[in-house]
């Protein structure tokens, strides 16, 4: 499938912002199953400096600074993305999760050592003790890794209420676990914490989800939003994506921007500013399928 992605973020300030340094991660990543053409980043007002680099995870980051007083910052990222189906292993054919855990701990080759990065605590992934019991219900003795992981994904989908506006970026996973509600970011963090608490490797994926309009209604432009899910690592197979918000294994409708240990490594926009007063944030994402072939 091929899509166009428009992602516009607007910050409106009550008072002028005199100076502002920012980093954005909005470039869909190149992967074996995802290609990209025509990426454009528009920043208004015109930035003093705009440059890009590849971070330690391989994601593209754009840095820009605004040095003239402004009351509004507008960032628009546009791209065309093509996604192919990727092979998904049969869950029950994957190795027992304890075997995977032991191989990760042994870290016997360079790849495993690199993957280890996603086994430890990170700023948003803490408190393994509290999540381990929750994870154990799915990860019974000798159960194949992916089979257990898919079960955990389903349980989060079933047992947690999807409740926008009840959590924020800084809501701790423990709160989410306690109140059994949150949004995609919270669910991704929760499942990552649960997997890592067992000694497994899991990473956070930032991206977009193509949403179908309700039956009989036209698709609304800007109705989409940025999405988050996770990946779990299985030796000899690689990384397998899981989406606890929708209880699916991501395929052609998940567009990947990048990945990291948690949200903090891949947040779409961050910045430090001087002045500004209260901020109003507006986000509009539009992912549209390009119907007929190229």
């Amino acid at each position: 499938m091929q899509y166009t992605v428009h992602h516009t973020t607007i910050y409106s300030y009550a008072d002028p912002v005199s100076i502002c340094q920012n980093e954005v991660q909005l470039t869909p990543r190149l992967t074996p199953w995802q290609s990209r053409s025509d990426f454009q980043l528009e920043v208004s007002p015109q930035p003093m400096l705009l440059r890009n680099f590849i971070d330690s995870f391989g994601n593209e980051i754009w840095y820009f600074s605004l040095e003239e007083p402004h009351n509004e910052l507008r960032v628009t990222a546009r791209s065309r993305v093509r996604i192919m189906r990727r092979p998904v292993p049969i869950p029950t054919d994957t190795p027992a999760w304890e075997k995977v855990r032991d191989r990760l701990i042994a870290a016997e080759n360079a790849e495993m050592r690199q993957v280890s990065q996603f086994r430890f605590e990170s700023p948003y992934i803490q408190h393994f003790d509290a999540t381990r019991d929750y994870a154990r219900t799915s990860f019974t003795e000798g159960r194949p890794l992916l089979d257990a992981a898919v079960d955990l994904t389903s349980r989060i989908y079933r047992e947690f209420e999807y409740a926008p506006a009840t959590t924020s970026v800084s809501t701790p996973t423990l709160e989410v676990l306690k109140h059994r509600r949150g949004v995609c970011q919270d669910f991704a963090h929760l499942q990552i914490t649960a997997l890592r608490s067992l000694g497994l490797a899991a990473r956070y994926v930032s991206g977009y989800l193509v949403t179908a309009p309700p039956p009989g209604k036209p698709k609304l432009v800007g109705a989409d939003a940025s999405h988050a899910w996770l990946s779990v690592y299985c030796p000899d197979i690689g990384w397998i994506d899981l989406d606890p918000t929708n209880d699916i294994i991501p395929q052609e409708r998940h567009i990947t921007i990048g990945w990291g240990r948690d949200y903090g490594d891949v947040c779409p926009i961050k910045g430090v500013l001087t002045g500004g007063g209260p901020q109003i944030l507006t986000v509009a994402v539009d992912v549209a399928p390009i119907e007929s072939g190229e």
Binding site: T9, Y11, I19, C20, Q21, N22, E23, M48, L49, R51, F53, I54, D55, S56, F57, Y63, S65, E67, A107, A110, R113, Q114, S116, Q117, R119, F120, Y162, P164, T167, S168, V169, S170, V183, C184, Q185, S206, L209, T211, A223, A225, S226, H227, A228, T245, N246, Y263, D265, C267, P268, I269, K270, G271, V272, L273, T274, G275, G276, Q279, L281, V283
Partner: protein, 870 residues
Amino acid sequence: MARGAYRGVSDTMIDSTGAVSAHPSGGIASQYFPSPGHFDEMKGADGDVRPAWSRLVQSLNSEGEAGLTRRSEQTRHLLRENGVTYNVYGAAKDLERPWELDPIPLMLPISEWLPLADSIRQRARLLNTILADVYGRQELLRSGILPPSAFFEHPGYLLPCVGIEPPGGIFMHWYAAQLARDSSGRWIALGDRSQGPSGAGYAVENRIVVSRTLPEQFQSLNVVRLASFFIALQNTLANLSHQHRDNPRVVLLSPGPKSSRYFEDVYLARYLGYTLVEGGDLTVRGDGVYLKTLGGLLSVDVIFRRMGDGRCDPLELRPDSPQGIAGLTQVVRDGRVVVANAIGSGFLEAPMLQAFLPAACRFLLGEELKLPCAPTWWCGTPENLKYVESNLDRLVVRQAYRHHNVRVYVGSSLAYYDRAKLIADMRARPGQFVAQEPVIGSTSPVWNGDRFQSWHVTLRAFAVATDGDYQVMPGGLSRVATRSETLTESMAAGQRSKDVWVLAEGPVDSITLLRPKKTALELRRSSNDLPSRAADHLFWLGRMIERTEALVRHVRCIVARMTSELQPARLADLHQMVLAIDEPGESPLAGLDTAEESIWQSLVESVWSFLHDPYRRGGLFEAIESTHRTASIVRDRISVDGWRIINQLTFPPSSNATAPRTTADLACTLVPLDQLLTWLSAFSGLCNDSMTRGPGWRFLDIGRRIERALQTLRVIRGLLVDAQTEVLPRLEAMLEIADSSMTYRYRYLTTLQLAPVLDLVLADESNPRAVGFQLMALSEHVGSLARDESDMVRTSEQKIVLSAQASLRLADVESFCTVNGSGDRRQLDKFLSLLASDLRGLSDSISHTYLTHTVDSRQLEAQLQVIKRA
């Protein structure tokens, strides 16, 4: 290397059969008994004085106890005079402690030093190579030499810095190794400091003091000089400039006055000749880093940082670091500024790395590690964890990745519960713990007033990167303590410090840091790198100095009248004078009935509390404290002599803690008050005579002028507005407080009248104490500040001064003297109060226009990842 001052010195040992006797007979040193079981620095196992010490010991013996006592007093005196202190984290009050230095240096023969320096150089090369690898190719990770945990569980491994390559491949421009000896005398590394190690400034200060207290010994023993190290540091930093400018701008980035290292930040900035800045003084604009100065933004080439890694950039590193510089990492990535040491070099400070250095050395350098580490077990593997658990009694357990402000567990002294808890914690998170065999360290004599005691010793050694290698400071900072447990690897630990003398075999060169550069410097008439923040503090220093002086003059005038028969004063006048020491209506005595019998005692107590009570608002204590505090913040802008004066600004604490106080108690304060005034005058003299007329001086002087005018207005209002009693005694006091008695007598002989006094202290533009004079000076200052503005419109500061000046010049002093119906000079009071509020407005306006540049920055609101779920 041999690039230091002792180049060419041969490697031969100082022969123990050499010129000096190893058996100084008798004397105080013979009464030094090292604690058994340790390597002693001064005496060998046979009890003989080691050759390197023998000449020092001989000369100390010949001077005896009296000589040592004198030298140790001199040491304390010099340290106090130079204001050498260190701050202690966590202590809310009394942050500053005096620095303590033992008069006896630690002696190391060059034959022992050279191999040690060689092993420190190897270690520094290794550590730099490790940084290059972990932030570059990551071979140490790929090959499994370092466990993944060393990267990914390590909060000091900064992912945003991966891939950044600093100029010349130098990550670690300078470095400190913390060393101690084992019982055989072998030097062992306890830890590494790679982010901007502290201690080098104290090493210089120790050297300056000890070389002064032991001058003959310092000369005759061929002590290798430290300066070569700092010259190498200057060169290394100068060569980092991306444009290779001949005179690059290097700034020393300090976390600020609250940091435990602030004294040293200031000291090093001055010693190395760099501008001292805090994060708020720097800003990222475009692709560069700039220093915010009064004269505008100046581009910065090199940031010599003393700030922790994560604190440097709130955008890419720790978001909760308002003291950082947003965008700095990106500028570094672009190669437009160099940060020394490289951001991320704190990676090396993790105690767990000690366990992996020998293997890393073989892997990266193909060499054996020369300087051994204390035997270390990282608990992240099951075997190590098991070993540590079963040998806990003889190990010290610490955090694997943090060494600052964390608990260290001494296995043998753990209580039952603590031990069980530690083992449970280690099992739950084994990767977070590391265990080491404790290193007891050597012992050394420490002078304890009347005899030598045997204390434990650690040595902090420093190395600086030079042309592909490192150069080691010939000496270092030694810390000593009575118990070895208090000598952890931290700099602040230990009770005292020692200078470290490396003894060459022949004469050594003397070197100064002010040396001719290869090319001539461009001549400059002013230095325009005064950060706005520093100007702000100088302005307030001027105000506080002047306020202190005015209060001292005022209270001295009162005390003199209360305690002397020669200047008898009526109670009512005294009462007025005591009231006048505060702003009108703000005196604690304001509601007191003058008819009461207890009035005299109330006045005595009130003056007493003004002098001694630290909580008395507007009291002398508060004024002196504020002066000290403000001065310590801009210490780098005050000359060494000026700082010595600031240190003398003290008032002795109260000797009589309980009321009632008597006039005799008060009389005792006259001498210290006079002394205080002398020091304050000395400071003013120094500012006038020795400070270049740059922006720094200007803001200091603006502060002084505004405060002096305000203080004079306060006294006039307090003393001369009331007309209910005879004005004569108060006129006399007025002249005395305003230091204008001489001028008055010269002009008017002894006839005291209100109008001429008022004219002299208020309007006279030729009297340096009069309000008119201050306005004249201020008019010049604000004019000169405004000169850069091209337009002809007057600045608001100029308008304020002009209008105040006009109203004062036009004022009819004679008419101010008339008394109205209610028995006071209300017209005068109103005039003075308007003038005072003009001056306060001027102060605010100057702050607003020129000084206040510190606006808090904050984070952009985060974007939640949220979709509409079907």
